[in-house]
Amino acid sequence: MSPAPPTQVEKRSHGALPSPAPIGQQGLRAELRVILAAVRKEWIHFVRYPTWAISFLLWPIVFPLGSIFAAWALSGPDGSGLAHFAARTGTTDSAAYVVIGNAIWMWVNMVLWNVGTYLRAEQMRGTLESSWLAPTRRFYILLGSSLAQALSSLLFLVVTAIEVRLVFGTRLWQNPLPLMAVLLLSIPCIYGLGIAFASLVMRFKEAGGLVNAVRGIVMIFVGVSHPITVLPQWMQGVSKVIPFTYTIEGLRRATLTRAGWDQMGDVLWPLALSGVILAALGWACFQWMERRSFQQGGISHY
């Protein structure tokens, strides 16, 4: 039997077989396409369920109202309670004080729910395996989801600022540069935590309890509706290692007391350092979870 005639490829390469090309293209452009595809998919999901409009328009004002009314009741008709509050915080604007704390808590909460449960939700829908079979780095898929969430959080914060201005008359953007610096430095902290959280949720397969734990810690220690100076000393120690304490403190200083750059250093440096640590933690947790899922075959476990 005569040997098979050479193929076109073999003819072109003078008989040598070409090395197999990777299924997916590598490189920055390909990775960007993955991230943008994940953003686009999240965006379609976002507009497909229009109840998001309710969340974005009403939550910024409805969520802190309970704490604001409690603050008004505690202030008392004679203002005696408010005097104690002003002595501790340096401001009599208890509504804006509470709104800032609550907005950051909401941001963390949204990231925990949306980014933190992203992989688990894909797993429950049965689409995680097919996404992970795609010839790309899986981390970029989660990064795309985080980016989409960051855009919606930005929208949420803008709506909060507008509504606070309309309802309570407080301008939250009156010291914009320090304000932006605090927000920008908080992004790696919040999303690093979200990615680490998504990996933990894949391990424990139960998001609700973990979300409650993390946001509970934030609620207790970072001073969402109270100054951390009223906490016992050991709790103040815990507060100082949580980056969101600095986010809230920085925003309150920038907006309520119009602090300049010289008064923001002790807030910005801890935030920058925490950002590096939490972003690295998110990456490491994802790698651990990915390796563990492959070794134990738990990708499609419900």
């Binding site: 409690a70 009741a73 008392g76 501790r88 509970g216 609620m219």
Partner: protein, 301 residues
Amino acid sequence: MPIQSHVETGAQPRRQAPLPRSLVRPTVASHLRVLWAILKLDVLHLIRYPMSLAMLPFTILTFLIPIYFTGLAFSGDDGRPDGFAALTGTDQFFSFAVTGGILMIYTVAVFFGIASSLKEDMQRGTLESNWITPAPRLLLLIGRSLASVVQATLQVLLILLATIPFGVSFGGDLWRGLGLVFLPSLIGLYGIGFMLAGVAFLAREVNAFLDLGQFALNTLTGQSYPVTILPRWLLAVSLAIPLTYGVDTLRSLLFGSRPLLPLGQSLTLLWGSAAVLVAVGLVVFIAAERKARMRGTIGMH
């Protein structure tokens, strides 16, 4: 050989076979069996994914501690909330807020137990198969909320224990408070829960409504403050919500605070509104479910 009937063969007809019975015999016992089966399913789910159960004590602390420290931020160095005492006549801010918080826990349990579990079933793809069982669908809904209510009760008992060191005591008229005030409030919440389940069928994404609904309800009914401090237009909305009287009357029975209405009027209002809310909730749920079946969107999410 052809088969001959007993008429043709002249043989005596056999006793007539009984008419086929319906697929289910609805009795109290069968309904209880349905509820038991769903409760067992949800408890199994809780045990299989124990994180939320394990986190329960922690969740309670995260609820109590911020309230306590917010009270301290507005208090003098002696820890007495002067402003609050001047407004309400009592310096028990923490007890006042915890009572509202307990009703909030049940609001969450009922709302999420009914409407969110419906959404969960849609996502898991089990709603259609549950829906074609010969069990009343309303019973399926109530069943899904049972585990949440049991969990909420456990949570409340833990809260009562955790608040003892803070000097909180619910010794006042606890049993009358539970039987006369808490029960109709819970029934009314179920009525709203049925309505939300109807919304879940049509909107298919209901968590935003649920979160917002329970928060709005807690804010307007005075979770940790007297509703009299609300702006006038908001106070009018608050006074139109029956649960406001539930929270207020419960506080007056437990701590002797000044109620919005005399006890008799409050109770009439609470029981009457519970009946109306359940009736309206049922109508909304049945209409929405029928519409979803006509559209063929029951299992879609």
